[in-house]
């Protein structure tokens, strides 16, 4: 219970702002209680690092004022541009590429039908009759050739 009280004192305010009585109480108790001693040391170190952290302050550069005024002008110019132009600036590339794609697709859809007759010619070349009955003249074997081939085999045996 007493330990809790001392840790509460440590967290109640900045360690350097503790009253003389509070410091004495913490110091005496820390000598006999290991846990509170550790908490006291940690609180002291935490205060040291936080003080170190606030010692570094960054100063503005001599050009800062110019930079802010330039940024302000830029922002004002942006705000004065009409909405449609701003929209075009942000989505122009996308819209352009979509338009190009549409034109390309349209062009393709008009040019593809001209290939039709070629397909028909191919169909004529391979007529249904020649495919089904295989009666084309190119690779036809005559009846005599078949007979002579059979008899040649028998004679060989």
């Amino acid at each position: 219970m007493r330990d809790e009280h001392i840790i509460e004192i440590l967290d109640s305010g900045p360690i350097h702002s503790l009253s003389v009585e509070q410091r004495e109480l913490v110091r005496l108790h820390s000598q006999t209680c290991g846990d509170c001693g550790g908490a006291y040391q940690a609180a002291m170190l935490a205060n040291t690092v936080i003080k170190s952290r606030t010692q570094t302050v960054i100063e503005p550069s001599p050009f800062f004022q110019t930079r802010v005024l330039a940024a302000l002008r830029e922002r004002q110019v942006e705000e004065n541009v009409p909405v449609l132009v701003r929209l075009w600036k942000s989505a122009g590339a996308l819209v352009s590429s979509m338009a190009v794609a549409t034109v390309a697709l349209a062009a393709l859809s008009f040019t593809v039908p001209t290939l039709g007759p070629t397909t028909e010619q191919t169909a004529t070349a391979y007529s249904a009759e020649s495919v089904l009955l295989d009666q084309g003249d190119d690779d036809q074997v005559t009846y005599e050739q078949v007979l002579s081939t059979i008899y040649e085999d028998d004679e060989a045996k």
């Binding site: 305010g13 940690a42 010692q55 503005p60 940024a71």
Partner: protein, 197 residues
């Protein structure tokens, strides 16, 4: 007030004068949150751009400096909220020089040693790590009260929070930072005790 009115009327040189006059203060506030010049400058620029667009809302009841400080604090808090923060800190997260610094502090316990510039920078790095376990608002309360000796009232004015809110935040932050530091010191104190034996 006069400068603010002129700037509101579109006088660019009056606004330039506001930037020149108050930028040290705006940079000082932003330095509580960031340690890199680029981040501080980015925040400060955003503060002045916001101030310019919101000049109408500045009614001259308080000081222009106080009004800018409020904008500055909120801008930096918003910027820092988007950064990822750690939930816990362990010894393995520390850099070598930070570990050495802590070892030295444990060894020099009780002595009021003066720190060199380098030592102060290492301590500040360590502070950043420890503060990273806190919510940005709690960090701010602790840095202002424990680091800059600001009063509860001053923090409340700078942030717009109630005084009791500031007290709660500072207490909670102090406790968390002490506990994080205790965790970092524990193996060292244990080691020291073992060495003594």
């Amino acid at each position: 007030m006069e400068l603010a009115q002129l700037a509101l009327a579109g006088d660019e040189s009056a606004f330039g004068e506001i930037v020149r006059r108050y930028s040290p203060r705006v940079f000082s506030v932003a330095s509580r949150f960031f340690r890199q010049r680029s981040s501080v400058e980015e925040a400060a620029q955003e503060v002045f751009l916001k101030a310019f667009t919101q000049l109408k809302s500045f009614e001259g009841r308080g000081s222009l400096e106080g009004w800018l400080t409020r904008i500055d604090t909120n801008t930096c808090l918003n910027m820092i909220r988007s950064a990822k923060r750690r939930v816990e800190l362990s010894v393995s997260d520390l850099a070598e020089d930070e570990n050495r610094w802590l070892d030295q502090q444990v060894a020099d316990v009780g002595s009021e040693s003066q720190h060199s510039v380098e030592q102060t920078l290492i301590a500040a790095d360590l502070a950043d790590r420890v503060l990273n376990v806190l919510a940005p608002e709690d960090q701010l309360a602790l840095l202002m009260i424990d680091g800059e000796d600001a009063s509860i009232k001053e923090v409340a004015e700078a942030t717009g929070w109630s005084e009791s809110n500031v007290k709660v935040r500072a207490f909670r932050a102090r406790k968390k930072v002490r506990e994080a530091m205790e965790k970092l010191l524990k193996p060292r104190i244990g080691g020291a005790v073992r060495n003594e034996r």
